[in-house]
Amino acid sequence: MESFCTIALAFLLAPLYPGIILKVKALFAGKKGPPLLIKYYTLLKLLHKGSVYSTSTTFVFRLGPLVSCAGAMMILLFFPLGGISPIFSFHGDVIVLFYILGIGRFFTISAALDTASPFEGMGAAREAFFGTLAEASIFAILILFYRMTGALSFSDYFIGAKSISLDGTAGALLLLVIVSLFMVLLTENSRVPVDDPATHLELTMIHEVMILDHSGPDLALIELGSFYKLFFYSAFIFLIVCPFNAAWGLFNLPVFFVGISLVYVAIGLVESGMARFKMNLVPKFVLTSLILVSFAAILTMEFIK
């Protein structure tokens, strides 16, 4: 029951947090910024509209939003939000879930190529390239976690018998993971410095240009999917930094839902302080995260005998 309530809460609250990023950025720019609930307004607006489809497109174009949104929802069902055991969990679920995100990407890219637009093709090529590299970093993180806990599921990582924590034997290595995971978060969710969601020139976009032709409820599904994905990554980082504390009981829940906003604040800080990278620097940025974690995984040979 608790699990169902938390997951419902997460599904409802996820669109709230990106508003925090906008607020932080506005604060740094000395502006008032949009209201905190801006993303809910956007979703409502989109849901009330109809759609325009390009004559070039086929059913694949309509599959894109569906698959990516379904994938992002599925990963949250397996995640121990706020230390409450998830609805589903099994040994090996992390591999399945990251591949489910992969099929979401496959169809987002295919939908972009379906429009016959050169700009969308350009965005698709970049998304596919950077996504592949980011996936390698994620699996390096899974390798490290397996070395530390012997587990292959989100619930074992955070609420299992041998859950990961910063003050464990190899806790220092987690510092590398946090940095690297944050870099992956920025890449996978098209944030600055990899991609700029607020840019105005299609040539410089990655994710935004791929969804140019989507409109109405389809676009709402894409947005919703991206909120869930960002929420998942933020929760992942937050639980590594501040793991579930058994003594607090249900109090973990408010800590989690408030604490997670710190990750969004961090994203906002990065976006305020940095410009977008040149495209050819992005692969190096993502590879840095891979190297960091692989290094940590190799170091476990000393820590864990």
Partner: protein, 653 residues
């Protein structure tokens, strides 16, 4: 066993009939299709009916009075027989409509005959139980497939491809026979079952010789050079059989020799694993760089063979370390991937064949928009693409998951093993990512968007007989993904009794199967819920049609679309120097510019290396001895006499 032999006999008869009746093509094709299908169905009955009792059956004939040809069927043979009897009949149905030119009747009849000889030879390779019978059927397999590749022999490209294939097949066979020779010198017996008695150092030597030989058949990097030439040259259903089934005989050989030798040397597993990683990553990389549809699929075979070898290598390391879970899941993943690959790769080759048949071109950048024009081919190709990219809820993911599972299990070991396994997991991820990169390219450029040429614009759907095999295979891809348990059990059954260190806990296998089933079904459930939700949202909404948003540009043309070349360019050049990218361009200069041009091609480092490092020096060296061949018969007889006398002298002194 008798039913099994009967099925092979029927298939041979089915192959001979068109040779006799080739004057009337319709009759010949009809007879061929009917009898061959009957043979393959009999074969499947032999596999799955309990009364036939194929497992454990042995039989032998004496040959030339002094030798015996022995055959035996065990779990591994059984597993490899399945794709043969499953994929080949579908390819035969496909070929019925694919060969539709009357004037080629004799050639087509010969091709039908050789196809059936190939099917029978492959079936016999899996059950051969001594050196002689193996050598015999292996050579029949190589030669019949060589003739099949040469179907369009009037084209220079085909002849070159055939020659290359012949060269690699024979060089590989030579290495395999050398390995058997070494084994024979130690055991003095032709029986495979004696191999385990060889001393440990010789085992390594035998294994690596045989590995290289089988690797050239399987298309392991850097011995894969013939694959990307032979597949585009051969008719599409032949490519499907060769890539889907025949190259797996190489994998069968590697596994068979490994299990026969029963060696638990760590080095074997490590070498196989490294070959697997290199084949996997470079195979998919070159696939990204290639723009001929069938060449690209051929490189994907190299990639998938890589994944299969990663699984096998992990299994072998598991055996060496005494880690049952790692060994079991590694081999199971490897075997299941053999099966899955034969399903989705033949599906993709069938799809490619349909596209080439309708448009007359196999260059991806000349196609586009085919999803609307060829709906069934397009949809099945999409399913095949998702499967080969290893994405759930389709088949490719199940086997990749087993390989991952084995690798993660192996992470508890330390030192060199740990490093190798970390590399293996990361290469599996990169392979998966690049494969979906490559197949979004194929699907996006060939089937989606707008047609880039008139030929693509005028294409239509192919006949039912061509789409039927594709539909069956696509359904199978989904079935394996949604009901993985029985297939995982089948893969584990493929090496029962062969693993020396015990067998994996059946409950564990069940758990993995049900978990994977849960994952893919849950995803489908969520997907359909969201789909329903979307349907509700679109009730009473205005849906309009319009052109694609051109970002302010109003005169967009189909030529402006991203091409396969531009889509893959950034990632291919990221992998320099492994991918040799050559680009030449003529740009706009001055105020009266000429015609602009851009050419780009990606060369295979193994092919270039083999050409410059091996073939050319060898040719120069051998060219120096050309004077021996002068065309004077008297002197040739002199050579023979000289040779005989030298041999006599050597053997008597």
């Amino acid at each position: 066993m008798n039913i099994f032999l009967l099925s092979l006999a029927i298939i041979i008869v089915g192959g001979t009939l068109p040779l006799v009746t080739c004057r009337n093509m319709a009759v010949a094709k009809g007879l061929y299709l009917g009898v061959t299908l009957l043979g393959c169905i009999t074969g499947l009955t032999a596999l799955f009916s309990t009364s036939a009792n194929l497992l454990g059956a042995t039989w032998s004939w004496s040959w030339l009075h002094s030798f015996s040809l022995a055959f035996a069927c065990d779990a591994l043979s059984f597993f490899f027989l399945m794709p043969i009897f499953l994929i080949c009949p579908l390819a035969v149905i496909y070929s019925f409509a694919y060969f539709d030119k009357e004037e080629n009747s004799l050639r087509t009849a010969v091709s039908f005959f050789c196809t059936n000889v190939l099917i029978v030879a492959m079936a016999l390779v899996t059950v051969a139980a001594n050196i002689l019978s193996f050598a015999l059927v292996w050579e029949i397999m190589s030669l019949s497939s060589y003739i099949l590749v040469m179907y369009n022999y009037e084209k220079a490209d085909t002849r070159k491809a055939g020659y290359l294939y012949f060269l690699f097949a024979q060089a590989g066979a030579m290495l395999i026979f050398a390995a058997f020779g070494v084994a024979f010198s130690h055991t003095g017996s032709l029986q495979f079952s004696e191999f385990a008695a060889i001393p440990a150092e010789a085992k390594l030597f035998v294994f690596f010789l045989a590995f290289l030989g089988f690797a050239s058949k399987a298309g392991v990097f850097p011995l894969h050079v013939w694959l990307p030439h032979a597949h585009p040259a051969a008719p599409s259903h032949i490519s499907a059989i060769m890539s889907g089934v025949m190259i797996k005989m190489g994998i069968y050989g590697i596994l068979r020799v490994y299990f026969l030798l029963a060696s638990s040397d760590l080095l074997i597993g490590q070498v196989v694993l490294v070959f697997g990683m290199v084949s996997g990553v470079l195979g998919v990389l070159y696939a990204l760089g290639k723009h001929n549809l069938k060449k690209l699929l051929a490189y994907h075979s190299v990639e998938n063979i890589g994944i299969i070898l990663i699984g096998a290598g992990l299994g072998m390391i598991g055996v060496a370390k005494g880690d049952v879970a790692m060994a079991g899941f590694g081999f199971a993943g490897s075997l299941l991937h053999v099966f899955n690959h034969s399903v989705f790769k033949s599906l993709l080759f069938f799809g490619a064949g349909a596209v080439i048949k309708k448009t007359g071109t196999s260059h991806v950048d000349e196609l586009g928009g085919l999803m609307k024009r060829m709906p069934i081919t397009g949809r099945t190709f999409l399913i095949g693409s998702v499967s080969i990219s290893g994405l759930p809820p389709f088949s490719g993911f199940v086997s990749e998951f087993l390989v991952y599972f084995s690798a993660f299990n192996g992470l508890k070991h330390n030192h060199a093993t740990l490093l190798l396994i970390i590399l293996a997991i990361i290469s599996l991820t990169v392979i998966g990512g690049l494969a979906s990169f490559c197949f979004t390219k194929v699907v996006g450029v060939v089937f989606l968007g707008e047609p880039r040429t008139d030929r693509a614009a005028q294409a239509g759907e192919v006949s039912r007989l061509l789409t039927l095999p594709m539909a069956i295979l696509a359904a199978l891809c989904l079935a394996i993904g949604v009901f993985p348990q029985s297939f995982i059990h089948l893969a584990f059954a493929g090496f029962t009794g062969l693993l020396q260190i015990g067998s994996v806990d059946a409950a564990m296998i069940d758990t993995v199967g049900t978990n994977l089933a849960l994952g893919s079904r849950l995803f489908l459930l969520i997907f359909f819920t969201v789909l329903l939700f979307r349907k509700l949202l679109y009730r009473n909404k205005v849906i309009a049609k319009g052109p694609t948003w051109g970002c302010g540009f109003t005169r967009g043309t189909a030529r402006m679309q991203y091409t396969g070349t531009s889509y893959a360019r950034s990632v291919v050049s990221f992998f320099r120097p492994f991918a040799i990218v050559r680009e030449s361009k003529v740009q706009l200069v001055k105020i009266f510019p000429g015609k602009t041009e851009f050419h780009s091609r990606v060369d295979d480092i193994a092919e270039v290396g083999m050409q410059h490092g091996l073939a050319l020096p060898l040719l120069t060296l051998l060219g120096k001895f050309r004077w021996i061949q002068h065309g004077k018969v008297q002197l040739y007889i002199g050579y023979i006499i000289l040779a005989i006398s030298v041999i006599l002298l050597v053997s008597f002194i």
